[in-house]
Symmetry: C2
Subunit: 328 residues, 2 copies
Protein backbone atom coordinates (compact mmCIF):
# COMPACT_ATOMS: atom_id res chain seq x y z
CA UNK A 1 0.00 0.00 0.00
CA UNK A 2 1.33 3.39 -0.93
CA UNK A 3 2.08 6.04 1.65
CA UNK A 4 -0.80 8.27 2.69
CA UNK A 5 -0.80 11.99 1.93
CA UNK A 6 -0.09 13.75 5.22
CA UNK A 7 -2.36 16.75 5.77
CA UNK A 8 -1.98 19.63 8.22
CA UNK A 9 -4.73 22.12 9.07
CA UNK A 10 -3.74 25.73 9.74
CA UNK A 11 -6.60 27.35 11.65
CA UNK A 12 -9.53 25.52 13.22
CA UNK A 13 -12.88 27.26 12.71
CA UNK A 14 -15.82 26.05 10.61
CA UNK A 15 -13.55 25.45 7.63
CA UNK A 16 -10.87 23.62 9.63
CA UNK A 17 -13.50 21.39 11.21
CA UNK A 18 -14.88 20.67 7.73
CA UNK A 19 -11.40 19.73 6.51
CA UNK A 20 -10.99 17.35 9.44
CA UNK A 21 -14.25 15.61 8.44
CA UNK A 22 -13.37 15.53 4.76
CA UNK A 23 -9.89 14.06 5.30
CA UNK A 24 -11.56 11.22 7.22
CA UNK A 25 -13.60 10.42 4.09
CA UNK A 26 -10.48 9.98 1.96
CA UNK A 27 -8.61 6.73 2.55
CA UNK A 28 -5.40 7.90 0.89
CA UNK A 29 -4.95 10.76 3.37
CA UNK A 30 -4.17 11.17 7.04
CA UNK A 31 -4.46 14.21 9.27
CA UNK A 32 -1.17 14.71 11.10
CA UNK A 33 -2.04 17.81 13.11
CA UNK A 34 -3.96 21.02 13.59
CA UNK A 35 -2.19 24.35 14.14
CA UNK A 36 -3.95 27.08 16.07
CA UNK A 37 -3.31 30.53 17.50
CA UNK A 38 -5.60 29.72 20.41
CA UNK A 39 -4.27 27.78 23.41
CA UNK A 40 -4.11 24.22 21.98
CA UNK A 41 -5.81 22.75 25.05
CA UNK A 42 -8.86 24.93 24.34
CA UNK A 43 -9.39 23.40 20.89
CA UNK A 44 -11.49 20.24 20.72
CA UNK A 45 -11.23 18.25 17.52
CA UNK A 46 -13.76 15.77 16.18
CA UNK A 47 -11.05 13.12 16.57
CA UNK A 48 -9.29 13.59 19.92
CA UNK A 49 -6.38 11.40 18.74
CA UNK A 50 -5.19 14.13 16.35
CA UNK A 51 -2.62 16.44 17.97
CA UNK A 52 -3.21 20.20 18.25
CA UNK A 53 -0.07 22.33 18.08
CA UNK A 54 0.57 25.99 18.86
CA UNK A 55 0.82 28.14 15.74
CA UNK A 56 4.41 29.16 16.43
CA UNK A 57 5.61 25.55 16.17
CA UNK A 58 4.32 25.14 12.62
CA UNK A 59 7.79 25.60 11.09
CA UNK A 60 8.98 22.42 12.79
CA UNK A 61 6.55 20.31 10.77
CA UNK A 62 7.99 20.89 7.30
CA UNK A 63 9.06 17.27 6.97
CA UNK A 64 5.94 15.83 8.62
CA UNK A 65 3.28 17.52 6.47
CA UNK A 66 2.85 16.97 2.73
CA UNK A 67 0.09 19.56 2.25
CA UNK A 68 -0.96 22.32 4.64
CA UNK A 69 -4.59 23.34 4.21
CA UNK A 70 -5.04 26.99 5.18
CA UNK A 71 -8.34 27.53 6.95
CA UNK A 72 -8.01 31.18 7.97
CA UNK A 73 -10.13 34.06 6.71
CA UNK A 74 -9.46 36.02 3.54
CA UNK A 75 -9.59 39.46 5.11
CA UNK A 76 -6.75 39.41 7.60
CA UNK A 77 -5.41 35.83 7.99
CA UNK A 78 -4.57 34.65 4.48
CA UNK A 79 -2.85 37.77 3.10
CA UNK A 80 -0.21 37.19 5.76
CA UNK A 81 -0.37 33.41 6.26
CA UNK A 82 -0.59 32.44 2.58
CA UNK A 83 2.85 33.70 1.54
CA UNK A 84 4.44 32.81 4.91
CA UNK A 85 3.26 29.19 4.81
CA UNK A 86 3.89 28.70 1.06
CA UNK A 87 7.56 29.27 1.80
CA UNK A 88 7.58 26.17 4.03
CA UNK A 89 4.75 23.98 2.76
CA UNK A 90 2.80 22.96 -0.26
CA UNK A 91 -0.49 24.72 0.50
CA UNK A 92 -4.14 24.94 -0.48
CA UNK A 93 -6.32 27.88 0.52
CA UNK A 94 -9.75 29.37 -0.14
CA UNK A 95 -8.77 33.03 -0.59
CA UNK A 96 -12.00 34.60 -1.83
CA UNK A 97 -11.53 38.36 -2.01
CA UNK A 98 -12.10 38.41 -5.78
CA UNK A 99 -10.64 41.88 -6.40
CA UNK A 100 -7.37 41.10 -4.62
CA UNK A 101 -6.65 37.71 -6.20
CA UNK A 102 -3.97 38.98 -8.64
CA UNK A 103 -1.85 40.54 -5.88
CA UNK A 104 -2.42 37.58 -3.55
CA UNK A 105 -1.40 35.18 -6.34
CA UNK A 106 1.80 37.17 -6.93
CA UNK A 107 2.77 37.17 -3.24
CA UNK A 108 2.08 33.47 -2.79
CA UNK A 109 3.78 32.59 -6.06
CA UNK A 110 6.99 34.30 -5.02
CA UNK A 111 7.01 32.50 -1.67
CA UNK A 112 6.18 29.11 -3.18
CA UNK A 113 8.86 29.47 -5.85
CA UNK A 114 11.42 30.43 -3.22
CA UNK A 115 10.45 27.52 -1.01
CA UNK A 116 10.21 24.98 -3.84
CA UNK A 117 6.53 24.37 -3.12
CA UNK A 118 3.19 24.38 -4.89
CA UNK A 119 0.47 26.73 -3.59
CA UNK A 120 -3.09 26.30 -4.83
CA UNK A 121 -5.03 29.48 -4.11
CA UNK A 122 -8.72 30.41 -4.17
CA UNK A 123 -10.01 26.84 -3.98
CA UNK A 124 -13.66 26.27 -3.09
CA UNK A 125 -16.86 26.84 -5.02
CA UNK A 126 -16.76 30.57 -5.72
CA UNK A 127 -13.97 31.20 -6.42
CA UNK A 128 -13.34 27.61 -7.48
CA UNK A 129 -15.88 25.33 -9.11
CA UNK A 130 -17.99 28.30 -10.26
CA UNK A 131 -14.88 29.87 -11.80
CA UNK A 132 -14.22 26.66 -13.72
CA UNK A 133 -17.75 26.67 -15.06
CA UNK A 134 -17.54 30.31 -16.10
CA UNK A 135 -14.39 29.33 -17.98
CA UNK A 136 -15.88 26.25 -19.67
CA UNK A 137 -18.91 28.34 -20.62
CA UNK A 138 -17.09 31.13 -22.38
CA UNK A 139 -14.44 28.88 -23.95
CA UNK A 140 -16.96 26.44 -25.43
CA UNK A 141 -19.69 28.95 -26.33
CA UNK A 142 -17.78 32.13 -27.23
CA UNK A 143 -20.98 33.85 -28.42
CA UNK A 144 -23.17 34.12 -25.34
CA UNK A 145 -23.54 35.43 -21.82
CA UNK A 146 -22.62 34.01 -18.42
CA UNK A 147 -24.83 34.40 -15.36
CA UNK A 148 -23.89 33.61 -11.76
CA UNK A 149 -26.67 33.38 -9.19
CA UNK A 150 -25.96 32.75 -5.52
CA UNK A 151 -28.29 31.12 -3.01
CA UNK A 152 -30.54 30.34 -1.50
CA UNK A 153 -27.90 30.70 1.12
CA UNK A 154 -26.70 32.28 4.30
CA UNK A 155 -24.36 35.19 3.59
CA UNK A 156 -21.88 35.72 6.41
CA UNK A 157 -20.96 39.26 5.36
CA UNK A 158 -24.56 40.42 5.06
CA UNK A 159 -25.52 38.72 8.33
CA UNK A 160 -22.70 40.61 10.03
CA UNK A 161 -23.99 43.86 8.51
CA UNK A 162 -27.49 43.20 9.85
CA UNK A 163 -26.11 42.48 13.32
CA UNK A 164 -24.24 45.80 13.37
CA UNK A 165 -27.51 47.77 13.03
CA UNK A 166 -28.50 49.51 16.31
CA UNK A 167 -31.52 47.77 17.83
CA UNK A 168 -30.59 44.35 16.39
CA UNK A 169 -29.83 41.68 18.98
CA UNK A 170 -29.24 38.88 16.49
CA UNK A 171 -30.04 37.88 12.95
CA UNK A 172 -29.14 36.21 9.69
CA UNK A 173 -29.43 37.12 6.04
CA UNK A 174 -30.20 34.82 3.13
CA UNK A 175 -29.34 35.64 -0.48
CA UNK A 176 -32.06 34.32 -2.80
CA UNK A 177 -31.94 34.20 -6.60
CA UNK A 178 -35.05 35.67 -8.23
CA UNK A 179 -36.77 32.64 -9.82
CA UNK A 180 -38.14 34.60 -12.79
CA UNK A 181 -34.61 35.79 -13.67
CA UNK A 182 -33.19 32.26 -13.45
CA UNK A 183 -35.99 30.98 -15.68
CA UNK A 184 -35.40 33.67 -18.32
CA UNK A 185 -31.71 32.73 -18.41
CA UNK A 186 -32.47 29.00 -18.63
CA UNK A 187 -34.85 29.73 -21.51
CA UNK A 188 -31.96 31.20 -23.48
CA UNK A 189 -33.26 34.78 -23.53
CA UNK A 190 -29.85 36.22 -22.57
CA UNK A 191 -31.52 39.06 -20.64
CA UNK A 192 -29.62 42.05 -19.26
CA UNK A 193 -30.32 41.88 -15.52
CA UNK A 194 -29.54 44.52 -12.93
CA UNK A 195 -28.63 43.78 -9.32
CA UNK A 196 -32.22 43.99 -8.06
CA UNK A 197 -33.52 41.70 -10.79
CA UNK A 198 -31.05 38.89 -10.01
CA UNK A 199 -31.17 38.46 -6.23
CA UNK A 200 -33.33 39.37 -3.28
CA UNK A 201 -32.27 39.50 0.35
CA UNK A 202 -34.21 38.02 3.25
CA UNK A 203 -33.30 39.06 6.78
CA UNK A 204 -34.45 37.36 9.96
CA UNK A 205 -33.89 39.63 12.92
CA UNK A 206 -34.20 39.43 16.70
CA UNK A 207 -34.89 42.91 18.10
CA UNK A 208 -33.03 44.26 21.12
CA UNK A 209 -35.30 45.15 24.00
CA UNK A 210 -37.12 48.40 23.36
CA UNK A 211 -35.96 48.74 19.75
CA UNK A 212 -38.39 50.14 17.18
CA UNK A 213 -39.07 47.55 14.45
CA UNK A 214 -39.79 50.08 11.71
CA UNK A 215 -36.64 52.03 12.49
CA UNK A 216 -34.53 48.84 12.37
CA UNK A 217 -36.20 47.73 9.14
CA UNK A 218 -35.48 51.09 7.49
CA UNK A 219 -31.88 51.07 8.68
CA UNK A 220 -31.36 47.64 7.12
CA UNK A 221 -33.10 48.06 3.77
CA UNK A 222 -31.49 51.45 3.10
CA UNK A 223 -27.94 50.32 3.91
CA UNK A 224 -25.73 51.18 0.90
CA UNK A 225 -23.80 48.39 -0.89
CA UNK A 226 -25.36 45.69 1.29
CA UNK A 227 -29.13 46.18 0.87
CA UNK A 228 -30.14 49.43 -0.83
CA UNK A 229 -29.82 48.00 -4.36
CA UNK A 230 -31.93 44.90 -3.56
CA UNK A 231 -35.49 44.06 -2.68
CA UNK A 232 -34.98 43.21 0.97
CA UNK A 233 -37.44 41.71 3.40
CA UNK A 234 -37.01 41.90 7.17
CA UNK A 235 -38.85 39.37 9.33
CA UNK A 236 -38.72 39.73 13.09
CA UNK A 237 -38.31 36.48 15.00
CA UNK A 238 -37.63 35.34 18.55
CA UNK A 239 -34.28 34.35 19.99
CA UNK A 240 -35.52 30.79 20.08
CA UNK A 241 -36.56 30.72 16.43
CA UNK A 242 -33.18 32.13 15.43
CA UNK A 243 -31.42 29.39 17.37
CA UNK A 244 -33.63 26.57 16.15
CA UNK A 245 -34.40 27.43 12.54
CA UNK A 246 -31.43 29.49 11.41
CA UNK A 247 -28.45 27.65 12.85
CA UNK A 248 -27.27 25.95 9.64
CA UNK A 249 -25.09 27.37 6.90
CA UNK A 250 -26.80 26.34 3.67
CA UNK A 251 -25.72 27.88 0.39
CA UNK A 252 -25.39 27.20 -3.30
CA UNK A 253 -26.20 28.80 -6.59
CA UNK A 254 -25.95 28.48 -10.34
CA UNK A 255 -23.54 29.34 -13.13
CA UNK A 256 -25.40 29.41 -16.42
CA UNK A 257 -23.85 29.96 -19.83
CA UNK A 258 -26.37 30.77 -22.51
CA UNK A 259 -24.82 30.67 -25.96
CA UNK A 260 -25.59 30.40 -29.63
CA UNK A 261 -24.01 28.15 -32.25
CA UNK A 262 -24.50 27.64 -35.99
CA UNK A 263 -27.51 29.44 -37.39
CA UNK A 264 -29.00 30.40 -34.02
CA UNK A 265 -29.15 27.14 -32.05
CA UNK A 266 -29.56 27.95 -28.36
CA UNK A 267 -27.23 26.03 -26.07
CA UNK A 268 -27.50 26.18 -22.28
CA UNK A 269 -24.81 24.93 -19.87
CA UNK A 270 -25.77 25.01 -16.21
CA UNK A 271 -23.83 24.22 -13.06
CA UNK A 272 -25.74 24.15 -9.80
CA UNK A 273 -24.87 23.53 -6.16
CA UNK A 274 -27.38 22.98 -3.36
CA UNK A 275 -25.46 22.72 -0.11
CA UNK A 276 -26.69 21.94 3.38
CA UNK A 277 -23.35 23.12 4.74
CA UNK A 278 -21.32 25.73 2.90
CA UNK A 279 -18.15 25.34 5.03
CA UNK A 280 -18.22 21.52 4.86
CA UNK A 281 -18.55 21.61 1.07
CA UNK A 282 -15.78 24.19 0.68
CA UNK A 283 -13.62 21.98 2.90
CA UNK A 284 -14.34 18.96 0.70
CA UNK A 285 -13.18 20.90 -2.34
CA UNK A 286 -10.02 21.98 -0.48
CA UNK A 287 -9.21 18.38 0.41
CA UNK A 288 -9.66 17.08 -3.15
CA UNK A 289 -7.37 19.85 -4.41
CA UNK A 290 -4.85 19.02 -1.65
CA UNK A 291 -4.41 15.69 -3.45
CA UNK A 292 -3.76 17.58 -6.70
CA UNK A 293 -1.31 19.95 -5.00
CA UNK A 294 0.59 16.98 -3.61
CA UNK A 295 0.85 15.41 -7.06
CA UNK A 296 1.92 18.64 -8.73
CA UNK A 297 4.69 19.02 -6.18
CA UNK A 298 5.73 15.36 -6.68
CA UNK A 299 5.83 16.02 -10.44
CA UNK A 300 8.33 18.83 -9.87
CA UNK A 301 6.03 21.82 -10.31
CA UNK A 302 6.68 24.95 -8.27
CA UNK A 303 4.77 28.16 -7.59
CA UNK A 304 1.20 29.36 -7.20
CA UNK A 305 -1.67 27.83 -9.16
CA UNK A 306 -5.44 28.11 -9.21
CA UNK A 307 -8.13 25.57 -10.05
CA UNK A 308 -7.93 26.82 -13.64
CA UNK A 309 -4.41 25.36 -13.89
CA UNK A 310 -5.14 21.89 -12.50
CA UNK A 311 -5.98 18.88 -14.68
CA UNK A 312 -9.17 17.44 -13.13
CA UNK A 313 -7.81 13.88 -13.07
CA UNK A 314 -5.35 14.94 -10.36
CA UNK A 315 -8.25 15.36 -7.91
CA UNK A 316 -9.06 11.67 -7.85
CA UNK A 317 -7.26 8.90 -5.96
CA UNK A 318 -7.76 6.71 -9.04
CA UNK A 319 -5.15 6.30 -11.77
CA UNK A 320 -5.57 7.92 -15.19
CA UNK A 321 -6.29 4.49 -16.72
CA UNK A 322 -8.96 3.71 -14.11
CA UNK A 323 -10.58 7.10 -14.64
CA UNK A 324 -10.68 6.62 -18.43
CA UNK A 325 -12.24 3.20 -18.01
CA UNK A 326 -14.81 4.17 -15.36
CA UNK A 327 -15.73 7.80 -15.99
CA UNK A 328 -15.17 8.76 -19.63
Amino acid sequence: MSKKIRIGIAGYGNLGRGVESAVAQNGDMELVGVFTRRPPASVTLLDPAVPVHPWDDIGNFRAAVDVMILCGGSRTDLPEQGPALARNFTTVDSFDTHARIPEYFAAVDEAAQAGGNVALISVGWDPGLFSLNRLFGEAILPEGATYTFWGKGLSQGHSDAVRRVPGVKGGVQYTVPVPEAVQRVRDGEQPVLNTREKHKRECFVVLAEGADPEQVRQAIISMPDYFADYDTTVTFISDETLRQEHNAMPHGGFVIRSGTTGAGSKQIMEYALALDSNPEFTSSVLVAYARAAYRLKQAGERGARSVLDVAPGLLSPKSAAELRKELL
Copy 2:
Protein backbone atom coordinates in the same frame (compact mmCIF):
# COMPACT_ATOMS: atom_id res chain seq x y z
CA MET B 1 -0.80 39.79 -33.39
CA SER B 2 0.11 36.21 -32.76
CA LYS B 3 -0.29 33.52 -35.38
CA LYS B 4 -3.67 31.84 -35.58
CA ILE B 5 -4.13 28.17 -34.77
CA ARG B 6 -4.57 26.38 -38.09
CA ILE B 7 -7.39 23.85 -37.97
CA GLY B 8 -8.14 20.99 -40.36
CA ILE B 9 -11.41 19.03 -40.44
CA ALA B 10 -11.24 15.31 -41.26
CA GLY B 11 -14.72 14.24 -42.37
CA TYR B 12 -17.60 16.58 -43.18
CA GLY B 13 -20.95 15.42 -41.79
CA ASN B 14 -23.02 17.08 -39.06
CA LEU B 15 -20.02 17.21 -36.76
CA GLY B 16 -17.65 18.60 -39.41
CA ARG B 17 -20.17 21.28 -40.32
CA GLY B 18 -20.48 22.16 -36.63
CA VAL B 19 -16.70 22.46 -36.34
CA GLU B 20 -16.64 24.79 -39.34
CA SER B 21 -19.20 27.05 -37.59
CA ALA B 22 -17.40 26.88 -34.26
CA VAL B 23 -13.98 27.76 -35.68
CA ALA B 24 -15.57 30.89 -37.19
CA GLN B 25 -16.60 31.95 -33.65
CA ASN B 26 -13.01 31.81 -32.39
CA GLY B 27 -10.84 34.71 -33.51
CA ASP B 28 -7.56 32.97 -32.69
CA MET B 29 -8.21 30.11 -35.14
CA GLU B 30 -8.47 29.67 -38.88
CA LEU B 31 -9.83 26.78 -40.90
CA VAL B 32 -7.25 25.75 -43.48
CA GLY B 33 -9.13 22.89 -45.11
CA VAL B 34 -11.61 20.06 -45.04
CA PHE B 35 -10.64 16.50 -45.94
CA THR B 36 -13.27 14.15 -47.30
CA ARG B 37 -13.59 10.67 -48.79
CA ARG B 38 -16.38 11.92 -51.04
CA PRO B 39 -15.55 13.68 -54.32
CA PRO B 40 -14.42 17.12 -53.05
CA ALA B 41 -16.55 18.92 -55.61
CA SER B 42 -19.65 17.30 -54.12
CA VAL B 43 -19.04 18.81 -50.68
CA THR B 44 -20.47 22.28 -50.07
CA LEU B 45 -19.05 24.13 -47.08
CA LEU B 46 -20.70 26.99 -45.19
CA ASP B 47 -17.77 29.14 -46.32
CA PRO B 48 -17.02 28.44 -50.00
CA ALA B 49 -13.59 30.07 -49.64
CA VAL B 50 -12.30 27.13 -47.56
CA PRO B 51 -10.66 24.44 -49.72
CA VAL B 52 -11.94 20.85 -49.76
CA HIS B 53 -9.27 18.20 -50.32
CA PRO B 54 -9.47 14.52 -51.17
CA TRP B 55 -8.82 12.28 -48.17
CA ASP B 56 -5.75 10.70 -49.72
CA ASP B 57 -3.93 14.02 -49.86
CA ILE B 58 -4.19 14.58 -46.12
CA GLY B 59 -0.58 13.49 -45.49
CA ASN B 60 0.66 16.46 -47.52
CA PHE B 61 -0.77 18.90 -44.99
CA ARG B 62 1.36 18.03 -41.98
CA ALA B 63 3.10 21.40 -42.02
CA ALA B 64 -0.05 23.37 -42.86
CA VAL B 65 -2.32 22.13 -40.08
CA ASP B 66 -1.70 22.65 -36.35
CA VAL B 67 -4.64 20.56 -35.13
CA MET B 68 -6.72 18.08 -37.12
CA ILE B 69 -10.25 17.69 -35.75
CA LEU B 70 -11.55 14.18 -36.50
CA CYS B 71 -15.23 14.26 -37.37
CA GLY B 72 -15.80 10.62 -38.34
CA GLY B 73 -18.00 8.11 -36.54
CA SER B 74 -16.88 6.00 -33.60
CA ARG B 75 -18.00 2.66 -35.00
CA THR B 76 -15.90 2.30 -38.13
CA ASP B 77 -14.13 5.61 -38.93
CA LEU B 78 -12.24 6.54 -35.78
CA PRO B 79 -10.79 3.14 -34.82
CA GLU B 80 -8.83 3.32 -38.06
CA GLN B 81 -8.47 7.09 -38.58
CA GLY B 82 -7.59 7.99 -34.99
CA PRO B 83 -4.27 6.14 -34.84
CA ALA B 84 -3.45 6.83 -38.51
CA LEU B 85 -3.92 10.59 -38.19
CA ALA B 86 -2.31 10.89 -34.74
CA ARG B 87 0.91 9.72 -36.37
CA ASN B 88 0.91 12.81 -38.60
CA PHE B 89 -1.09 15.43 -36.72
CA THR B 90 -2.02 16.70 -33.30
CA THR B 91 -5.64 15.55 -33.18
CA VAL B 92 -8.90 15.94 -31.31
CA ASP B 93 -11.74 13.43 -31.66
CA SER B 94 -15.09 12.54 -30.11
CA PHE B 95 -14.68 8.75 -29.85
CA ASP B 96 -17.70 7.73 -27.79
CA THR B 97 -17.86 3.93 -27.66
CA HIS B 98 -17.45 3.89 -23.87
CA ALA B 99 -16.51 0.22 -23.56
CA ARG B 100 -13.70 0.47 -26.12
CA ILE B 101 -12.05 3.65 -24.85
CA PRO B 102 -9.09 1.89 -23.14
CA GLU B 103 -8.03 0.05 -26.32
CA TYR B 104 -8.67 3.10 -28.49
CA PHE B 105 -6.58 5.23 -26.11
CA ALA B 106 -3.71 2.72 -26.30
CA ALA B 107 -3.72 2.62 -30.12
CA VAL B 108 -3.87 6.41 -30.46
CA ASP B 109 -1.26 6.90 -27.74
CA GLU B 110 1.24 4.69 -29.52
CA ALA B 111 0.73 6.54 -32.79
CA ALA B 112 0.88 10.00 -31.21
CA GLN B 113 4.06 9.13 -29.30
CA ALA B 114 5.65 7.79 -32.47
CA GLY B 115 4.67 10.89 -34.41
CA GLY B 116 5.60 13.36 -31.67
CA ASN B 117 2.01 14.60 -31.46
CA VAL B 118 -0.73 15.12 -28.88
CA ALA B 119 -4.04 13.30 -29.41
CA LEU B 120 -7.04 14.31 -27.33
CA ILE B 121 -9.61 11.52 -27.46
CA SER B 122 -13.27 11.24 -26.45
CA VAL B 123 -13.93 14.99 -26.39
CA GLY B 124 -17.55 16.20 -26.35
CA TRP B 125 -20.21 16.15 -23.66
CA ASP B 126 -20.57 12.43 -22.93
CA PRO B 127 -17.84 11.32 -22.94
CA GLY B 128 -16.36 14.72 -22.15
CA LEU B 129 -17.99 17.36 -19.98
CA PHE B 130 -20.21 14.78 -18.28
CA SER B 131 -17.12 12.66 -17.53
CA LEU B 132 -15.47 15.68 -15.92
CA ASN B 133 -18.49 16.24 -13.72
CA ARG B 134 -18.66 12.59 -12.68
CA LEU B 135 -15.01 12.98 -11.69
CA PHE B 136 -15.48 16.23 -9.74
CA GLY B 137 -18.48 14.67 -8.01
CA GLU B 138 -16.78 11.56 -6.71
CA ALA B 139 -13.48 13.29 -5.91
CA ILE B 140 -15.09 16.11 -3.90
CA LEU B 141 -17.88 14.08 -2.28
CA PRO B 142 -16.38 10.59 -1.82
CA GLU B 143 -19.42 9.43 0.17
CA GLY B 144 -22.32 9.60 -2.24
CA ALA B 145 -23.79 8.45 -5.52
CA THR B 146 -23.54 9.76 -9.08
CA TYR B 147 -26.48 9.83 -11.47
CA THR B 148 -26.35 10.52 -15.20
CA PHE B 149 -29.61 11.30 -16.99
CA TRP B 150 -29.76 11.86 -20.75
CA GLY B 151 -32.32 13.93 -22.63
CA LYS B 152 -34.70 15.10 -23.52
CA GLY B 153 -32.90 14.36 -26.73
CA LEU B 154 -32.80 12.69 -30.06
CA SER B 155 -30.88 9.42 -29.92
CA GLN B 156 -29.30 8.54 -33.25
CA GLY B 157 -28.75 4.88 -32.39
CA HIS B 158 -32.30 4.33 -31.18
CA SER B 159 -33.76 6.23 -34.14
CA ASP B 160 -31.79 3.93 -36.45
CA ALA B 161 -33.17 0.91 -34.58
CA VAL B 162 -36.73 2.17 -35.02
CA ARG B 163 -36.17 2.71 -38.74
CA ARG B 164 -34.95 -0.86 -39.18
CA VAL B 165 -38.31 -2.27 -37.98
CA PRO B 166 -40.35 -3.75 -40.89
CA GLY B 167 -43.32 -1.52 -41.66
CA VAL B 168 -41.52 1.68 -40.57
CA LYS B 169 -41.00 4.25 -43.31
CA GLY B 170 -39.36 6.86 -41.12
CA GLY B 171 -39.07 7.89 -37.50
CA VAL B 172 -37.13 9.33 -34.61
CA GLN B 173 -36.65 8.41 -30.98
CA TYR B 174 -36.30 10.73 -28.01
CA THR B 175 -34.72 9.70 -24.73
CA VAL B 176 -36.50 11.40 -21.83
CA PRO B 177 -35.41 11.43 -18.17
CA VAL B 178 -38.21 10.46 -15.78
CA PRO B 179 -38.94 13.71 -13.88
CA GLU B 180 -39.82 11.94 -10.61
CA ALA B 181 -36.46 10.17 -10.62
CA VAL B 182 -34.56 13.40 -11.28
CA GLN B 183 -36.44 15.08 -8.43
CA ARG B 184 -35.66 12.29 -5.98
CA VAL B 185 -31.98 12.57 -6.84
CA ARG B 186 -32.02 16.39 -6.50
CA ASP B 187 -33.68 16.00 -3.11
CA GLY B 188 -30.69 14.02 -1.89
CA GLU B 189 -32.52 10.71 -1.44
CA GLN B 190 -29.76 8.73 -3.20
CA PRO B 191 -32.32 6.26 -4.59
CA VAL B 192 -31.36 3.03 -6.32
CA LEU B 193 -32.92 3.38 -9.77
CA ASN B 194 -33.26 0.72 -12.42
CA THR B 195 -33.17 1.37 -16.15
CA ARG B 196 -36.94 1.79 -16.47
CA GLU B 197 -37.12 4.20 -13.56
CA LYS B 198 -34.50 6.59 -14.98
CA HIS B 199 -35.48 7.10 -18.62
CA LYS B 200 -38.43 6.61 -20.91
CA ARG B 201 -38.34 6.40 -24.70
CA GLU B 202 -40.66 8.24 -27.04
CA CYS B 203 -40.85 7.13 -30.69
CA PHE B 204 -42.47 9.09 -33.51
CA VAL B 205 -43.02 6.81 -36.48
CA VAL B 206 -44.22 7.13 -40.08
CA LEU B 207 -45.80 3.84 -41.18
CA ALA B 208 -44.99 2.27 -44.53
CA GLU B 209 -48.02 1.83 -46.74
CA GLY B 210 -50.16 -1.08 -45.60
CA ALA B 211 -48.20 -1.70 -42.38
CA ASP B 212 -50.12 -2.73 -39.27
CA PRO B 213 -49.64 -0.13 -36.52
CA GLU B 214 -50.07 -2.55 -33.62
CA GLN B 215 -47.59 -4.97 -35.10
CA VAL B 216 -45.03 -2.18 -35.59
CA ARG B 217 -45.62 -0.88 -32.08
CA GLN B 218 -45.09 -4.33 -30.58
CA ALA B 219 -41.93 -4.89 -32.62
CA ILE B 220 -40.49 -1.63 -31.32
CA ILE B 221 -41.38 -1.83 -27.63
CA SER B 222 -40.25 -5.46 -27.32
CA MET B 223 -36.88 -4.92 -29.01
CA PRO B 224 -34.17 -6.20 -26.64
CA ASP B 225 -31.42 -3.79 -25.44
CA TYR B 226 -33.01 -0.82 -27.21
CA PHE B 227 -36.57 -0.69 -25.85
CA ALA B 228 -37.65 -3.78 -23.88
CA ASP B 229 -36.23 -2.47 -20.57
CA TYR B 230 -37.95 0.93 -20.89
CA ASP B 231 -41.41 2.38 -20.86
CA THR B 232 -41.69 3.19 -24.55
CA THR B 233 -44.40 5.15 -26.32
CA VAL B 234 -44.95 4.96 -30.08
CA THR B 235 -46.82 7.81 -31.77
CA PHE B 236 -47.69 7.51 -35.44
CA ILE B 237 -47.24 10.67 -37.47
CA SER B 238 -47.28 11.77 -41.10
CA ASP B 239 -44.27 12.24 -43.35
CA GLU B 240 -44.89 15.95 -43.20
CA THR B 241 -44.98 16.13 -39.41
CA LEU B 242 -41.73 14.15 -39.27
CA ARG B 243 -40.08 16.61 -41.63
CA GLN B 244 -41.41 19.73 -39.94
CA GLU B 245 -41.39 18.94 -36.24
CA HIS B 246 -38.62 16.38 -35.83
CA ASN B 247 -35.83 17.72 -38.02
CA ALA B 248 -33.63 19.13 -35.23
CA MET B 249 -31.13 17.29 -33.09
CA PRO B 250 -31.77 18.53 -29.56
CA HIS B 251 -30.18 16.76 -26.63
CA GLY B 252 -28.82 17.29 -23.16
CA GLY B 253 -29.04 15.79 -19.73
CA PHE B 254 -27.80 15.96 -16.18
CA VAL B 255 -24.96 14.64 -14.08
CA ILE B 256 -25.90 14.82 -10.42
CA ARG B 257 -23.66 13.93 -7.50
CA SER B 258 -25.51 13.51 -4.24
CA GLY B 259 -23.16 13.26 -1.30
CA THR B 260 -22.92 13.59 2.43
CA THR B 261 -20.37 15.47 4.53
CA GLY B 262 -19.80 15.98 8.25
CA ALA B 263 -22.64 14.69 10.41
CA GLY B 264 -25.05 14.08 7.55
CA SER B 265 -25.14 17.34 5.60
CA LYS B 266 -26.58 16.70 2.15
CA GLN B 267 -24.62 18.26 -0.69
CA ILE B 268 -25.86 18.24 -4.29
CA MET B 269 -23.69 19.06 -7.32
CA GLU B 270 -25.55 19.22 -10.62
CA TYR B 271 -24.37 19.74 -14.17
CA ALA B 272 -27.00 20.20 -16.85
CA LEU B 273 -26.99 20.75 -20.60
CA ALA B 274 -29.99 21.79 -22.70
CA LEU B 275 -28.93 21.78 -26.32
CA ASP B 276 -30.85 22.84 -29.41
CA SER B 277 -28.21 21.12 -31.54
CA ASN B 278 -26.26 18.18 -30.22
CA PRO B 279 -23.70 18.07 -33.09
CA GLU B 280 -23.07 21.83 -32.99
CA PHE B 281 -22.45 21.71 -29.24
CA THR B 282 -20.15 18.69 -29.51
CA SER B 283 -18.28 20.54 -32.24
CA SER B 284 -17.90 23.60 -30.01
CA VAL B 285 -16.36 21.41 -27.32
CA LEU B 286 -14.00 19.86 -29.88
CA VAL B 287 -12.84 23.29 -31.04
CA ALA B 288 -12.14 24.56 -27.50
CA TYR B 289 -10.12 21.41 -26.81
CA ALA B 290 -8.28 21.86 -30.12
CA ARG B 291 -6.82 25.02 -28.57
CA ALA B 292 -5.73 22.98 -25.55
CA ALA B 293 -4.21 20.26 -27.76
CA TYR B 294 -2.25 22.89 -29.65
CA ARG B 295 -0.88 24.32 -26.42
CA LEU B 296 0.02 20.92 -24.99
CA LYS B 297 1.95 20.13 -28.16
CA GLN B 298 3.69 23.55 -28.03
CA ALA B 299 4.60 22.80 -24.40
CA GLY B 300 6.37 19.61 -25.50
CA GLU B 301 3.79 17.04 -24.43
CA ARG B 302 3.37 13.89 -26.49
CA GLY B 303 0.84 11.07 -26.60
CA ALA B 304 -2.89 10.50 -26.04
CA ARG B 305 -4.85 12.47 -23.47
CA SER B 306 -8.49 12.82 -22.45
CA VAL B 307 -10.39 15.78 -21.03
CA LEU B 308 -9.52 14.44 -17.56
CA ASP B 309 -5.86 15.26 -18.25
CA VAL B 310 -6.31 18.84 -19.49
CA ALA B 311 -6.04 21.90 -17.23
CA PRO B 312 -9.23 23.89 -17.95
CA GLY B 313 -7.34 27.17 -18.44
CA LEU B 314 -5.85 25.77 -21.66
CA LEU B 315 -9.30 25.90 -23.30
CA SER B 316 -9.46 29.68 -23.22
CA PRO B 317 -7.76 32.15 -25.56
CA LYS B 318 -7.10 34.32 -22.50
CA SER B 319 -3.85 34.23 -20.53
CA ALA B 320 -3.66 32.62 -17.09
CA ALA B 321 -3.37 36.08 -15.49
CA GLU B 322 -6.45 37.37 -17.36
CA LEU B 323 -8.43 34.29 -16.36
CA ARG B 324 -7.49 34.69 -12.70
CA LYS B 325 -8.51 38.35 -12.77
CA GLU B 326 -11.78 37.88 -14.66
CA LEU B 327 -13.11 34.45 -13.75
CA LEU B 328 -11.81 33.33 -10.35
